[in-house]
Amino acid sequence: MSERTERGEGREGMPGQHRVSTEQHTPLWEVFVRARRGLSHTHVGSLHAPDAELALRNARDVYTRRQEGVSIWVVPAAAITASSPDEKDAFFDPAADKVYRHPTFYEVPEGAGHL
């Protein structure tokens, strides 16, 4: 996957020219889309593009079919820090077994209708 192959012998020019890796020239971008009536941006997928401007245009073609009124975010995949699956227990378990962290023991006072 790292080296792009030149397709077909018919391509003119540049025999033997050094070919650079896809990752270097077209890094991976993660795409988030908020639909016209959607409340939040949702991760819809990823794509390769040389920069943010093209990533945005490509995302518009690939993921939104250029519908009007959608909002698109593109983020270089390298800028995203993910929680590690190995640390899953440490990250999420304590919250689940400490019930007092979840505000479920309150009686909602009458008249507070908008809680």
Binding site: T26, L47, D61, R66
Partner: protein
């Protein structure tokens, strides 16, 4: 008036149809997967506009020819597209130069049509101009990128612009009887094109060579080959339904 209007609408429909056919040839051969999708998208936009325009042209003519009859059962001398769209795709730079000049012409044209008195043309223009704005955005991005890219991409982009530029003159041949006279679009075209060429560090070619004839059915040698491929099935099985 109706015969003039038929010719005018047919010309625009043929521009879009032939441009779509050329862009379709790129499918699965573009430099990037994302670009492959973009080119196919633009081809589909052009084909959509072609269908609307040819259907309307068929109605104006009143001889019972629908979009398929007009697309598949005319010889090259009966096509009214500009020469620009029938030129071969060449390398990616040539394709982008063609798309850039075509969309810089189609956008103001459809814009003007959207406000014209003919209700059908106004509706088609209103739909197509949004797509043209995207085509122009996409192609000008690539013209800038390639022109201001590497030494090799600059050389190819300049060659492409030099090669294609002469064919832009035909787009603005005066047609005073038309709902929108193309001659009036020239200034807007240049105002769109020149800043992009400058930003791309490209030189605007001279205006000496001005090939034309497409609107009269006088084409380059490329069109009949394109039509042979496009029409072969319908010619072999005329009247078939699909």
């Amino acid at each position: 008036m109706s015969a003039d209007l038929f010719d005018f609408v047919l010309g625009l429909g043929d521009d879009a149809l032939i441009a779509a056919q050329r862009l379709g040839e790129w499918t699965s051969r573009a430099p990037e997967m994302e670009e492959d999708i973009a080119l196919a998208n633009i081809a589909l936009d052009q084909l959509g506009a072609a269908r609307l325009l040819l259907t309307y042209a068929g109605e104006l003519e009143g001889a019972g020819r629908d979009e398929d009859a007009l697309a598949y059962l005319r010889g090259d001398r009966e096509f009214r597209n500009c020469l620009l769209v029938e030129l071969p795709n060449g390398d990616f730079a040539v394709t982008m130069a063609k798309l850039f000049f075509l969309s810089a012409y189609q956008l103001p044209l459809y814009d003007a049509l959207a406000g014209c008195g003919d209700e059908r043309l106004a509706a088609i223009g209103a739909k197509a101009r949004k797509e043209s704005a995207y085509h122009l955005d996409h192609s000008s991005l690539w013209v800038r990128r390639l022109g201001d890219g590497t030494e090799e991409s600059h050389r190819r982009m300049q060659e492409a612009v030099d090669q294609v530029w002469p064919y832009t003159h035909e787009l603005f041949a005066a047609d005073p009887a038309a709902p929108v006279d193309p001659a009036g679009l020239r200034a807007g075209f240049e105002a769109t094109v020149e800043p992009v060429l400058t930003e791309a560090t490209l030189t605007r070619p001279g205006d000496g060579f001005t090939p034309g004839g497409g609107r009269q059915g006088l084409h380059t040698e490329h069109l009949s080959f394109l039509l042979a491929e496009m029409q072969v099935l319908h010619r072999a099985h005329p009247g078939a339904r699909w």
